[in-house]
Symmetry: C2
Subunit: 425 residues, 2 copies
């Protein structure tokens, strides 16, 4: 489980704020659900792999568990409050989820997801899928991590394609394709042979999974496969509409491509699916993913509530971005100034400190006494950019000494000048 | 476990922001620890009552549990990172904790605490205790819940007093006094008799526990008890210093009193302890509490790290404040405007929407089609203050229709005027 230093935590808090602000600008309202859910709710729409990773609570017969994502709890919430909510319902949630994965580099058992979803009642236009993709691109851009590219696919195209191939065990093929980037091409071919697929079919599957490019190119290659059936064609049609909407929203064409090697492990997706890679840092893996889920809320309700959503794996991304030196960590404390008092009367010090705080300046008051050298050393350890020294004689003349800790320069100023300098910093 | 409506969640998010901002202005930096801790860490400094409420995770032999407060994890963190941290170390954390209490009105099994703490190395001045109290008063004031009063006591005074009485089982007497507000005076007297205390001693204890007032009055009454010993006198001295510092910090005298009926359940407090009541709503109980813990970090370390902290029970307070109608819940969505497009070209709509968002206006785009009546009904259900109607002919003349949803008035404006109106709202 991750634990940041105070300096890292300042940046991580800023990340949460930036992503949340982009979601807010798109009109996604806040909605938080509890960390614990009833175990059977979580089991309702979970793949076997995720099921094994769920943390159950050792109380009341393990009837509650920690959530493994933010989407299933949202579905449960929407079905419970369907008569009170407006539809389409846009919601954001930045919260922790838990998965009992084997600990490995960049994987955590407790991590933040930053999610945004739109849930419709009975229907939800494909333009919603495009809005989600355009918005998550804005959110990732707000983190200033360099170029990235959304990788878009569609479950109907994948399932339709496999159907037309008469594959016996689609789930296993899907699982293999989902894991394809973790194995060599030879190994993948071998695994597919174990599923009793013939050479001809394997070649088709590998060809399908290697299709990528803009919609002109990807759609031509898909059509060239000449394996259409109704589901496949519906997926193609959805992607065509999605592409037109993405262009209309003005999403930079370099920021997305179609990629039919993208599968997504979770069972609940029914249409568009996507993942995201940093162009300069493909080794970090997918930093954001999501898609369309038309039946997830339906699992808890009689009415159909189609949804589409995105999720940024904030903790994993932060950890890897720190490791790859993509994050500018410069502050070690939220304090902008540390006040070192060398006067008897705490009242007078408190007056100065209060004025600074009322001007919005984060002000730490050093209360431990001792000489100037010791106090300055403590302030230096704190990493605060400025120190304000309050001396008795000086204070009587309404002067204070402001020291810039990075340049070492110090000035004798009145309180208004101190506030002015600190506000400009 | 609590779950708010979107309208309530908007206010709750605002509460978290306000409290965090006050803590930031005092220089308390962010530090988050995982929800799960090793079970033995949590057990190290827990009263028997809290111990029973801990949620253990049904994995790896229940060796991990959910945290029941934010202070014990902070102590573990500080001892693990003591060589990297500056001291005194000021930290804030607003996070969830879990306690398996019996569900009852205003009590939750999962709830937010908004904590701030100062940890010193080897020593920590009593002025730190005063800073914590002054700051938490500012934080509570920022929530605009009417008059409140901090109730301050000191563990040394309590223990010293009980010592001088030759009470056999101090822990039981302390537990009884902590629960005193949940029982009648007669019942309390009866319970004290069961502990084999004589009438004379019981009268002393009840007298002690009923002392309250400003420091002049409270200290006189304490001295009049004439039961001093070293610990008692040390506690008195600490409170005297604390009171001088509170005056120096300019804390409004109506915002605090000394109250020796205040005990605090948790075992780790060693000096100042406090609780907080809303003056007009005493039935809500204590909304914030905390105190001095000189040995908590020491439980995980060889060096002494005295600390003092405050905690606002944010979830419980919010739930009760909503029930008592103290919270002004007016927005049902973060969206400031909902855009209803009636033009073919999504590009043109997207241009308008992008301009609004770039001006910082939270803009929801209605994508579901249908006529004006249906779309306006959806926007009304959303509770958005403004609707922006984009019609084809109008747009060609660079005009848009902005409708105020509460007055029903609508105006034909250009884009700059729309932005201006929405930014002023």
């Amino acid at each position: 489980m991750p634990e940041w230093t105070p300096a890292q935590q300042i940046v991580f808090e800023d990340w949460k704020r930036r992503v949340s602000e982009v979601y807010r600008l798109y009109g996604y309202t806040f909605l938080e659900t509890p960390a614990m859910e009833r175990s059977e709710v979580l089991a309702a729409k979970t793949g076997a792999q995720t099921q094994k990773q769920i943390y159950r609570i050792a109380k009341d017969g393990a009837s509650t568990s920690l959530r493994f994502d933010l989407t299933v709890p949202l579905a449960r919430y929407v079905s419970a409050h369907q008569s009170d909510l407006p539809f389409p319902f846009r919601r954001q949630a930045i919260g922790k989820v838990w998965r009992g994965e084997r600990a490995q580099k960049g994987r955590f058992r407790e991590f933040y997801q930053a999610d945004a979803d739109i849930i419709g009642r009975e229907k939800l236009s494909l333009t919603a899928d495009a809005e989600i993709l355009a918005m998550v691109a804005d959110a990732i851009e707000a983190l200033c991590l360099g170029d990235f590219q959304l990788q878009i696919s569609n479950r109907k195209v994948v399932i339709g394609f496999l159907d037309s191939l008469k594959v016996m065990d689609k789930a296993q093929v899907i699982q293999l394709l989902d894991d394809a980037d973790k194995m060599s091409a030879a190994k993948l071919r071998q695994e597919l042979e174990l599923l009793r697929l013939d050479v001809f079919e394997i070649r088709k599957i590998l060809k399908f999974a290697s299709i990528r490019g803009d919609w002109d190119r990807a759609s031509q290659e898909l059509l060239a496969l000449d394996y259409g059936n109704e589901e496949f064609n519906q997926g193609l049609d959805e992607l065509g509409q999605l592409d037109r909407a993405l262009r209309a929203f003005g999403l930079d064409p370099r920021m997305y491509q179609y990629n039919f090697g993208i599968i997504r492990g979770l069972d609940y997706y029914t249409g568009m699916i996507y993942e995201t890679k940093l162009v300069e840092h493909p080794e970090i893996g997918s930093i954001s993913s999501g898609g369309r889920y038309d039946n997830l809320v339906g699992a808890f309700s009689h009415t159909k509530y189609p949804g589409v959503g995105c999720s940024i794996g904030l903790t994993r991304l932060f950890s890897q971005a720190v490791a790859a030196d993509l994050v500018d960590i410069r502050q070690t404390t939220v304090s902008q100034v540390c006040v070192l008092p060398f006067v008897e009367e705490l009242e007078k010090v408190a007056t100065v400190v209060r004025a600074l705080r009322q001007s919005g300046i984060a002000t730490e008051l050093y209360l431990e006494g001792g000489g100037l050298t010791k106090s300055l050393r403590a302030a230096a350890k704190l990493g605060v950019p400025y120190v304000l020294i309050i001396g008795g004689d000086e204070l009587a003349a309404h002067r204070l000494t402001l020291k810039n800790m990075s340049t070492g320069e110090q000035e004798s100023l009145n309180l208004a000048q101190v506030i002015d300098t600190l506000q400009q910093f």
